[in-house]
């Protein structure tokens, strides 16, 4: 079937293009989408020129929900609310599919969600309860990345989990700290950030500190780096300083630059460093269950929404990206009417 896809042709320039989809899976009409930093890097053209050359034109956005239009297997009803899974495996692998070279990712390896309709394999959608907040649900994918990392941390950590440190006072830091409070209820969650006005929003955390104002005797058992970019270096350095022996360092922040790490102290303390990126179906199922059982989380997550933009035209989409790029904190949600 013919489908209209709205692709980024070159930085800051979207265009309509025509695609064809087969009717052998689930067809979803996107309703609420959310902009991620990765989308913003394509839009602004801040990825290396050869990457842009290779990947564009491509539809952006890998965070979003929609309504089922058609399901070839009739498991889902037309109108069912679903969250879409951007990671798409093309063959089995020995590792988790979100780390497999055999997987492609929406808005990175192939078209993201800015289109009239989206065709997905039936295991690439997870049904949402009707009463889920749509604007928050738009960025469930981001929540699943934190969930995935925390689940793997829980499997890996061997020392006590009394004091968990989260570095970063942005979106991912907020979500990771919030999920740690739910998923590790016995632990104290301590947040380290640069901006006091952001840290003030972390009211659910046990302690918050500005990174330059940390008590000398403070220690943590495990660290979560949610900073990214070149600032990852100083965050990792501080984690290594404050962490107890045999702790784990869980990396979430994406950086365009290689980050030096003090391996001498990693060896001396016997630390484990684990990278985290993307997520898989079980993480989406896990987050939907977590949110269903803990509806109060929606209230906290709603605080993250800084812009809600209605998209009726490609110009609206452009304006939403521009607005998002100047927001210092929070998520931009797109009400997709295009």
């Amino acid at each position: 079937m013919i489908n209209i896809v709205y692709r980024l042709k070159s930085p800051k320039f979207f265009e309509e293009s025509i695609d064809e989809i087969e009717l052998d899976g689930v067809v979803v009409r996107p309703t609420h989408l959310s902009i991620c930093q990765a989308d913003q890097r394509y839009y602004q053209g801040s990825r290396p020129a050869e990457i842009l050359d290779k990947k564009l034109p491509m539809a952006l956005i890998h965070e979003g929900i929609g309504e089922v239009v058609f399901d070839s297997e009739n498991n889902l009803k037309s109108g069912d609310k679903v969250v879409m899974i951007p990671n798409t495996p093309f063959g089995d692998d020995v590792c988790r599919a979100n780390y497999s070279y055999k997987s492609k990712f929406r808005g990175s390896g192939f078209d993201g969600f800015t289109s009239d309709l989206i065709k997905l394999e039936s295991d690439r959608v997870v049904k949402l309860p009707d009463d889920f907040n749509n604007n928050v649900s738009a960025f469930i994918e981001l929540i699943t990345v934190a969930y995935q990392g925390i689940s793997r941390f829980n499997e890996m950590a061997i020392t006590p989990k009394d004091r968990l440190g989260v570095w970063g006072d942005g979106n991912l830091g907020y979500i990771t700290a919030l999920l740690l409070k739910e998923m590790c209820p016995e632990s104290k969650v301590i947040v380290f950030g640069k901006h006091q006005e952001n840290l003030n929003l972390f009211s659910f955390a046990d302690e918050t500190y500005r990174i330059h104002d940390v008590p000398k005797d403070l220690v943590i058992d495990h660290g979560f780096e949610c900073v990214g970019s070149s600032a990852s270096q100083s965050a990792i350095e501080q984690i290594i300083d404050l962490i107890n022996p045999q702790g784990t360092i869980n990396l979430f922040g994406v950086s365009e630059y290689p980050i030096p790490i003090n391996t001498r102290m990693v060896l001396e303390k016997g630390l484990t460093v684990q990278g985290n990126s993307r997520s898989e179906r079980e993480d989406f199922v896990g987050v939907v269950k977590l949110l269903t059982e803990n509806p109060q989380l929606f209230e906290y997550l709603e605080k993250l929404i800084s812009n809600v933009c209605e998209i009726n035209s490609l110009n609206d989409l452009k304006e939403a990206f521009d607005k998002d790029s100047i927001s210092k904190f929070g998520k931009t949600v797109l009400i997709w009417n295009k």
Binding site: M1, S17, I18, E20, V27, F70, G79
Partner: protein, 236 residues
Amino acid sequence: MIFAAILAGGIGSRMGGTDTPKQFLDLGNKPVIIHTIEKFVINNKIDKIIVLTPQNFINHTNHLINEYIGENENIVVIEGGETRNDTLINSINYIDEHFGIDDDSIIITHDSVRPFVTHRIIEDNIEAAKRYGACDTVVPATDTIVESINARTIESIPVRDYYYQGQTPQSFNIKKLFNLISSLTEEESNILTDACKIFTLKDEDVYLVEGEVTNIKITYPYDLKLANTILEDRND
């Protein structure tokens, strides 16, 4: 109930160079009309799709539907009329005969040669027809509109901001549409080539649904060539 009428009654006199009506020519690997019907087939809100073709193309259309879409009891192919209005009346008569016309039923009428219609446009049509009784799909005019009565000199140049280009679907409350068509004089019938115009002539509001620049009508050989080029380009 919600009905879709796919208007494939025209014989494509403007297409040139071929005897096959344009809706039956291939776009990519399927006939244009199949691409168009598919858009309505996946919309679960639509109870019945009525495809109206010239009498001698009914069997052909049925074969195509069976080949590309498969047996589908929600699709029926019937004969269109001489004019667009006649075709529309045939679809209403079919509905009246087989389902009856109640106060809430709506009909989405769509050109079979607009295969790039989006799901969003169809949804917005359903919503607007239910709410307002009539709607037309339009895009803002981009070219300057020039009015000339004698085809030699300009009569006027209207303010472009007030002008739109009509696309389809056009959707209506069936009862309202039926009553208005029935009230037309023969003279009115002859000049009213557009269903929305019937509404405006009778002082009934027609709501605007935003179309898409991609929702083009395949009228000329150039359009089909262009559409095929765009479609072939999709995976580059």
